[in-house]
């Protein structure tokens, strides 16, 4: 029993490692694993893989591309029996982006989500909620302002730094 469980863990870990190599199609600095959209990995003894993947936003066009990229990477590693279940609950939250993912976002020039979506007063829940203070990913200045709540992809807002004057994107806390 213990040995089998250990083998299960080892097989699953191999899949998680491969997911680390699958870039997000819209924010390639992040891996699918960093993004936190893969909620469960199961590998049978015969090598059949079953994944649970949750979409980021309902209308995110990347959802189909993400599933395709996962299949492609696993197939190249020899996994030819892959099932992907789409799960909606619990709904994806930026709280699931790994710390490593947040660091990668910042290095890439995108400000990572500030605070936790689960916390009250994250600015999102209320119409009159204050915007979070988003530090500039380029120079670290706290003097930034929101340009628009919406950006080049569903997950981002547009900001501007008042010190280095660079525009930047903010990965919205959701």
């Amino acid at each position: 029993m213990t040995v089998v469980a250990l083998d299960d863990k080892r097989r699953e870990a191999a899949i998680w490692d491969l997911l680390e190599e699958v870039p997000d199609p819209e924010v390639p600095a992040l891996s699918i694993r960093d993004l936190g959209v893969v909620r469960d990995v199961r590998v049978a003894e015969n090598g059949a893989v079953r994944l649970a993947v949750t979409p980021t936003y309902s209308g995110c066009p990347a959802t189909a591309a993400i599933n395709l990229s996962i299949r492609d990477r696993l197939l190249r590693a020899g996994y030819d029996n892959v099932a992907i279940d789409t799960v909606l609950a619990p709904a994806w939250t930026t709280d699931w982006i790994s710390d490593e993912g947040k660091r990668k976002l910042r290095d890439y020039g995108i400000a990572p989500p500030v605070g936790k979506a689960a916390d009250e007063g994250a600015g999102r829940g209320t119409l009159f909620g204050a915007d979070p203070d988003v530090p500039c990913p380029h120079c670290g200045s706290a003097a930034t302002e929101k340009v628009s709540e919406f950006g080049s992809t569903a997950c981002k807002a547009q900001y501007r730094c008042m010190d280095c004057l660079e525009p930047f994107e903010y990965f919205k806390c959701i």
């Binding site: 309902s58 209308g59 609950a89 619990p90 994806w92 939250t93 959701i174």
Partner: protein, 257 residues
């Protein structure tokens, strides 16, 4: 999964189509702004909101097809139904008009959607509850966006104030329909699937009044409310939307790309 146990499949399918149709038609209206927005940021914002709404419609249609059990999928619902089969709110199909009209239409529905999806996220139907919980995160952002514009325009210049007040006056005849209920709603409430829409009104009123006050706008009165969307009686605009939305599938049935 709890589905269609206390309610028949036909009723639940119909209810899901009502929700999905309002999302898709409003999303389609917003998509008409793509490339025509007053400024680049708003062009992007409206396209993003359209994407969210169309995505929500896809989830609702896909689930409706599963519940119905007759093999229809999201494309069948979107592309192969004529005007009287559509059950969206009349407000959603109203023309874009100017930016003020679009934001007023959006704000009134966003405030409704926040209350509706808050309630649906506690539905006894677990799949609908999951779709609602996901949608709620999105419509909360939408309301924040449209609400800020109502305030900015209402409390802005004389011209912007005049336009947004006119848009409010023009759209107010469609507000009562949001909270209107019929026998299907009663069955939905009885099965614990969805809220009594009338019960959402106080929270909606309170949010709308608060924003209108901040925007120095006057809440309109109407003696002549319009309704009929949920039963398929639409304004003349829906046919024109469908002729655009459905053209490819009508001209080249079954085409894929």
């Amino acid at each position: 999964m709890t589905t269609a146990t206390d309610i028949d499949r036909k009723s639940l399918t119909e209810y899901l189509l009502r929700l999905g149709d309002t999302s898709l038609i409003l999303g389609h209206r917003l998509s008409e702004w793509c490339g025509h927005g007053p400024v680049l940021e708003e062009d992007i914002a409206m396209s993003n909101i359209a994407l969210d709404l169309i995505g929500q419609a896809r989830l609702l249609y896909t689930y409706a097809g599963t519940v119905e059990g007759e093999g229809r999928d999201e494309d069948d619902f979107a592309f192969k139904r004529d005007v009287t089969d559509w059950k969206n709110l009349l407000l959603a199909e109203q023309p874009n008009g100017d930016f003020a009209a679009t934001m007023v239409r959006q704000f009134l529905i966003d405030c409704f959607n926040v209350e509706l999806y808050t309630s649906l996220s506690k539905s006894t139907d677990t799949e609908l509850a999951a779709i609602a919980a996901k949608s709620l995160k999105e419509v909360t952002y939408h309301r924040r966006h449209s609400g800020e514009w109502i305030i900015r325009m209402g409390d802005g210049t004389d011209e912007s104030h005049r336009r947004v007040q006119r848009a409010l006056d023009d759209h107010w005849i469609f507000v009562d329909e949001l909270f209107e209920t019929d026998a299907l709603d009663a069955a939905i409430v009885a099965a614990g699937i969805g809220p009594d829409l009338k019960s959402l009104r106080p929270a909606w009123d309170s949010m709308v009044d608060r924003v209108l006050a901040e925007a120095t706008l006057t809440r309109p009165q109407t003696d002549f409310p319009r309704s009929g969307g949920r039963t398929g009686s639409h304004s003349e605009y829906l046919g024109f939307i469908l002729s655009d939305l459905q053209f490819m599938q009508r001209a080249y049935p079954g085409m894929e790309w």
